[in-house]
Amino acid sequence: MGSRLVLSMFLDTSRVLYRFRFLNTIAVKKSLRKIFSAMALLGLFCQALLITTAMAATEQVKLKQLRVKDVIYLPTVNSQRVLQFSKPKTWNLSGSSRIEVTFQHSWELDPSRSRLEVIVNNRLLKQVSLGPDNAKNTTISVPLPVGILKDQNTLTFRVEQHYKAKCEDPLDPSLWTQILPESKLVFDYTPTLPTVDLAGYPFPIIDPLTYSPQPLKFVLPNTPDEKELQALGYINMNLAQSAGRKEVRTSIAHPGNAVDGKDHLIYIGTPSDNSAIAAYQGMISQHPVSGDSGLVLFFQHPTYHDRGVLIATGNTTEGVLQAAKYVSTHPTQADMKGNAVVVPESWNPNSGDSNQAAPFVENQNRSFQQLGYGEESVEKIFAPPINYQVPVLADFLNSNAKLWLDLSYSYGRKGGDLINPKFSSLELRFNDMPIANIPLLQSENGESMAKAAIPIPKDLIQPNNTLVAQYHLLPDKFGYCKGGYEDKAWGKIHDDSTFRVDGVPASLLPNVGVLNYTGFPYSRDANYKNTHFMLPKTPGDGALEAFLGITSRLGRATFSDTDLRFTLSTGDSVPYQTKDLIIIQDLRQPMKLPEGGKLSWNGASPLLKEYMTKYETGSETHKLISYESGDGTYLEQYHPGTSGDRVVTVLAAMHDQGFNNLALMFEDDDRFAKLTPGPMKLLNNSSGDMNTVEATPARVEKTGSGAPGNWWDGILSWFGALFSGLSWPLIIGAAIVLAILLILLPLILRRANQRY
């Protein structure tokens, strides 16, 4: 824009100057000609520059985008960190692309023996000697070899560092280098147009190789019906499953709304419901459909060529749903290719039941393999820790159940010197607390598939846990310094290692915060077959965006090996369901919720909310507060009615902005991370923070006198009130006197009776 402005200013100046041509001096004419020629050349140059600038683009990818929290710390005599990075398919990288590495290191390092290596796809790109001159923050630029880049690539920072020539402590704390978070990958590229074909679906709508959130705009009928909404949910959740760890940003549009080239477009509905689809009538008519058959069109946007368009349509809404089911089924259908597919009415995904185990520990055992981890090996004295993220979505603390880690491990040496059994050990830490230290005493030559059963202390178990296995493979005390020492020690953790659940743990639910950990409990089934969505009778755009937000988040949590199977309905009240529910509650048209919730809304006023709570030990419902406010966005989870198993999650807001904030909370990873455990959350619309609302917040609840619970508690309480202030010995004394009176009274009366 700026360059264009400068160019037009130049051209305007040239035109003005040319008006001076009546100045008929030859010298002036010559001078003017020279000026005009120069300006014309300059204009051409600027034009060329503009075109080049318009085509070329630069993307800077910082370490944070590669899932590095802060600095990369490289300790010990030898260590490395491997990062994954991608090259989007539509980028034609130029040779000026580079890696800018900012680092610092211990000044004690011996520059003659210490170095930092930058490696891409196992090719060494740069080797830097680590000496006093670059101990403080130093940045180096390393050209990216664009020719060797693939879709997925590895970037490795590796150090070899020493502080003295021999007999050093290989774990000495003075051995460190830090790669700082300012480091980045700079991609200079020219974008290329994507190939849009169902065989490659969902690319380019979803490209997991990109670095920015995927922008998706769903164009819906003005009043979509249940089938069309279910189609919306299927397509969105499936796209999110494909996006995986990449964020998506969804939005809603209707016929007549302007669309721009920012988003990929997904049209859902029949042409009669959704006039925006009718704009593609020419394409649709080439693929006639009948009855409840569906039609899927997938093509390049006619105006914005780098954007894809997906249309799920049909003559009926059943046909639309059929089309949506078709594109959202795994594995992908064999005939899904080209730009259009007619999905017959009779088509059935027929994908059987899911064979996937939920990637978390709940009531059943989970092997490391089921949790997504393979066999992990480390080597040598400086073996790095092996890290595992272990979601445990059950309450062990308040139950008799126990959690065990049945560890399967091996260690040994590939020739070389012996491991010293007096020193070496395998340490296990759970949430930073040591839970076991297994001495590697069995044999100096190591062991294969050794087993250990390690109890996990209940107080350490959280919904999201980190398990660290740290091998301390230490040589004989004289070994490391003796001449010609060969460190060939190794250790392995096998993927058949298992978290074993002993007994039946209590449920963590209701707890809206555990959605944050793999979409629990809805993701117990990867195809969401036990999930039902409930939307308002006439959902507004806000409610639909919240629906897209939650389906995106659930989709990103799992990858189904079948078709998606959640159900959906709209209405004023929630029909009886045997499934877990997710309810989008628009407080402007509140629906009657299943009983059991703490939060309910009185339909008398759009702003009126009532907060209901229950005494912990009784069944009495107790209204705590009724208040009015123009703001407020809530998430709540509870067990409906008397059901102890199913859960209902309510996403409620009283205006579209609130729903938009909810959707953003689900779609943005940083905001979603703020969703902490608790049965109910109030979303602060200004900051995105969340207040936890707990009806029974304190563990101290059990230590004192609460409200009446059982009937005998009531009686005792009544007695308590009656005799309040009296000591029990006094009461016992009074009771004895009363009892004696009762015994004596009949005798006295009888005597009196006999006498008279």
């Binding site: 002036v28 004690e108 402590d169 003075s174 040591p434 939060l599 208040y627 200004s686 707990e694």
Partner: protein, 730 residues
């Protein structure tokens, strides 16, 4: 036609003119930018010293490698600037090998500076280290980490030659801008109390107008305690703002109906819920019913960087309902936006009796119940594991008994015989054991005894691991990365204590507000104010309730009662009472009869000491007098009187309640006299004027042992049989 030749110099001048214009424009823009910058950047600066961080004498880092961590926060309303820095002053042992010794300074996990410990910095040396603002989070750690050696050969890792000292001149300077304040009920207690601001006291002004109805007085009491609880241990300075005024340098709280509190009416133009004719309306303009409560949070028109919290309604009952909602968890967690209309409120279950977070409530309570975590120590010279052990003030430990601490601990394998675990109680070593199982141990138990005389309400328990790797050899490479020791929070304490407390004792209030905070929601506590309170009385009222709030933490709501002295019949029977004023202002003090020891109106008073002697006590009118006595209306309750002849005396009592140091120095005794230099306590009690309060008497009502019920049941059956025999004539 003569044409004027084209004058080239004109063209030549164009660049010069353009340059001049550019220069002038640039200068103007720079000036403008400068002015704007000055306007926007109302910079503040905070300097945190080693004293603030808990080490006024600095800290010496000993042994071959060790570190010291200091926790600090970034307040919510701050935008920290890049000019923030650490000014570190240090010195070290001259024996250190410069090429093998270094000092790292870390902020969180980032090394922001690494310093070579060489000859040139053996003497005190200062160094400035910038703090990158982007690495600061809500909670942060500043770490000094040292790795130091004095020889290449046969080095003793614990040698006295290995030391580096971070000197007391070390400071951390945080430059910051204050972020604009956006009123939002969802964010409360922020900005009135920023729980991340641990550096400077929060300031809140309260308007206490004359003529508040009893219901509004109770509402104000509720808000005072509630905001006090929000601040907790953080300093909170409260003040009484002149009635009707909203111009203050602090955040402001206005409680009452618009008629009762004229300051509320003065804000009518600022409210989301309109106020006209002394009545609030809904957003749609319809008048709100009398019994509705109103909560509004607005920017102070005279200080937009401060807020005013308005707790009001169209009637005193509405005001009370609004205050209760604001204080009630979880209702207050549901409020959002700038205003809320409370239509109905019913109190939830009260906070259970004696359920104090983090305090031992009965024998056998484990560390987890006290909120203490399992902790691990690693390496040769690990940082000691420190626990703060607190005991309920109503647990009475008779002399010559032993408290047993059962500690569960674990340690790594491959530790030789010289590794040990040492235990210290309140700074004194009391137990040491060897860690000599070569396979290590998990959940081993260590039991040690503490004399009951050495077990206080607040105690420190320290576990120090001394860990040495197997085959420790000073002359060979042996690492310490694999050795560790852990203390588990399943450890528990066996207390041979009775649940009873000797009263009256003003000093008990120093034990977290006991007995007024026995219920952490202040149920069964009432404050009695004079109808015509002086500014001093109001100050005592505000500071005392704020203090009781800071000393307690309710998981529910606040249930304190409040009344005026001329009409305290409702509250005096079943509550601990706090009576403010003097006899001329507060009639309830007259009703205490002769029970009160010091009669404030007299300059001299006759007191009878426990041994029966009469003593004459001179009374300075500027002295504040706090006295506790057993309530004449309920001998299981106490009355705390706060009296002064003039406002100087009352303000001294108020200061005692506000100032942490003064408050912490209140000693045991039934009378505390507050002089200009602090409080002084004395015990002047006659026989029968003291007793033990037992928890069962206070709250748990009727409790009889099982055998009592069996005897009672047996007698009842006997009586029944007897009656039946009589009725049926046998």
């Amino acid at each position: 036609m003569m044409t004027r030749p084209f004058s080239l110099p004109v063209f030549k001048k164009i660049p010069a003119i353009l340059s001049l214009l550019a220069f002038l424009g640039g200068s103007f823009l720079s000036m403008w930018a400068g002015i704007t910058a000055v306007q926007a950047a109302t910079r503040n600066s905070l300097v945190i010293t080693m004293k603030d961080m808990g080490n006024p004498e600095g800290h010496t880092l000993k042994t071959v490698r060790t570190e010291r961590r200091y926790h600090f926060t970034k307040p919510k309303g701050w935008k920290v600037q890049p000019s923030s820095s650490i000014h570190m002053v240090f010195q070290h042992s001259p024996s250190l090998l410069p090429e093998r010794s270094s000092l790292n300074v870390l902020v969180n996990e980032r090394i922001v500076k690494t310093i070579r410990l060489a000859k040139e910095n053996v003497v005190p040396t200062g160094v400035d280290i910038p703090i990158p603002p982007e690495i600061l989070k809500d909670h942060n750690d500043l770490t000094f980490q040292v790795d130091q050696h004095y020889t290449y050969q046969c080095e003793d890792p614990l040698s006295a030659e290995l030391w580096t000292t971070v000197l007391p001149d070390t400071t951390m300077k945080l430059d910051y801008e204050l972020l604009p304040v956006k009123p939002d009920l969802a964010a409360l207690p922020y900005p009135m109390v920023d729980v991340l601001n641990t550096y400077s006291p929060a300031h809140i002004g309260y308007s206490v107008p004359d003529g508040l109805s009893p219901a509004s007085l109770e509402a104000l009491s509720t808000v005072l305690v509630s905001l006090g609880q929000a601040a907790g241990w953080r300093e909170l300075e409260t003040s009484v703002v002149p009635s009707g005024s909203t111009s203050t340098d602090h955040h402001l709280v206005l409680v009452g109906t618009p008629d009762e509190n004229p300051a509320i009416s003065s804000l009518s133009g600022s409210f989301e819920l309109p106020l006209s004719g002394g009545k609030f309306s809904g957003k749609d303009g319809s008048a709100l019913p009398e019994n509705y409560g109103v909560i509004q949070l607005v920017n102070n028109p005279s200080r937009p960087d401060h807020v005013i919290l308005v707790v009001s309604g169209n009637s005193p009952e509405g005001v009370k309902m609004a205050a209760k909602t604001l204080a009630q968890n979880p209702s207050n967690r549901l409020l959002a936006g700038k205003s809320a209309v409370v239509k109905e409120f019913q109190p939830g279950p009260q906070h259970p009796y004696r359920a104090w977070d983090g305090f031992i409530q009965e024998s056998g309570d484990n560390f987890a119940k006290l909120g203490l975590e399992t902790q691990t120590a690693r390496g040769y010279a690990p940082v000691p594991i420190l626990y703060k052990v607190k005991m309920m003030p109503d647990l009475f430990l008779p002399g010559q008994r032993k408290v047993k601490v059962h500690t569960f601990y674990s340690y790594a394998s491959q530790l030789p015989g010289q590794s040990k675990l040492e235990v210290k109680w309140n700074g004194k070593a009391i137990k040491s054991i060897g860690l000599d199982n070569p396979k290590g141990e998990t959940n081993a138990e260590l039991t040690f005894e503490i004399n009951s005389e050495e077990f206080f309400t607040y105690n420190e328990l320290e576990y120090q691991f001394f860990l040495f790797p197997d085959k420790e050899d000073l002359c060979r490479f042996v690492t310490d990365v694999h050795i560790w020791g852990t203390v588990h929070n399943t450890s528990y304490i066996e207390l041979p204590a009775d649940k009873k407390t000797a009263v009256p004792d003003v000093g008990l209030i120093n034990d977290a507000g006991f007995p007024f905070t026995a219920y952490q929601d202040l149920s069964e506590t009432a404050v009695v104010m004079p109808k015509n309170a002086t500014e001093g009385d109001k100050n005592v009222f505000v500071q005392t309730l704020t203090r009781l709030g800071r000393e307690s933490r309710s998981h529910r709501g606040i249930n304190i009662r409040a009344a005026y002295g001329d009409n305290a019949g409702d509250v005096r029977g079943n509550n601990h009472l706090i009576v403010i004023g003097n006899k001329s202002r507060n009639p309830l003090l007259n009703e205490l009869g002769g029970k009160s020891k010091l009669i404030v109106e007299n300059r001299f008073d006759q007191l009878k000491t426990p041994d029966g002697k009469q003593v004459e006590v001179s009374n300075d009118p500027d002295q504040g007098i706090i006295e506790e006595l057993i309530s004449p209306w309920n001998d299981k309750r106490v009355v705390l009187t706060m009296q002064g002849e003039n406002d100087t005396a009352m303000n001294r009592i108020a200061y005692l309640m506000m100032n942490d140091k003064w408050f912490g120095s209140i000693e045991s005794g039934n009378i505390t006299v507050v002089n200009a230099d602090g409080p002084k306590s004395m015990t002047v009690l006659a026989k029968g004027e003291a007793k033990f309060l037992q928890p069962a008497e206070l709250s748990e009502g009727f409790k009889m042992p099982i055998w009592g019920w069996i005897v009672l049941g047996f007698l009842a059956i006997l009586g029944l049989i007897s009656i039946l025999r009589f009725m049926f004539g046998r």
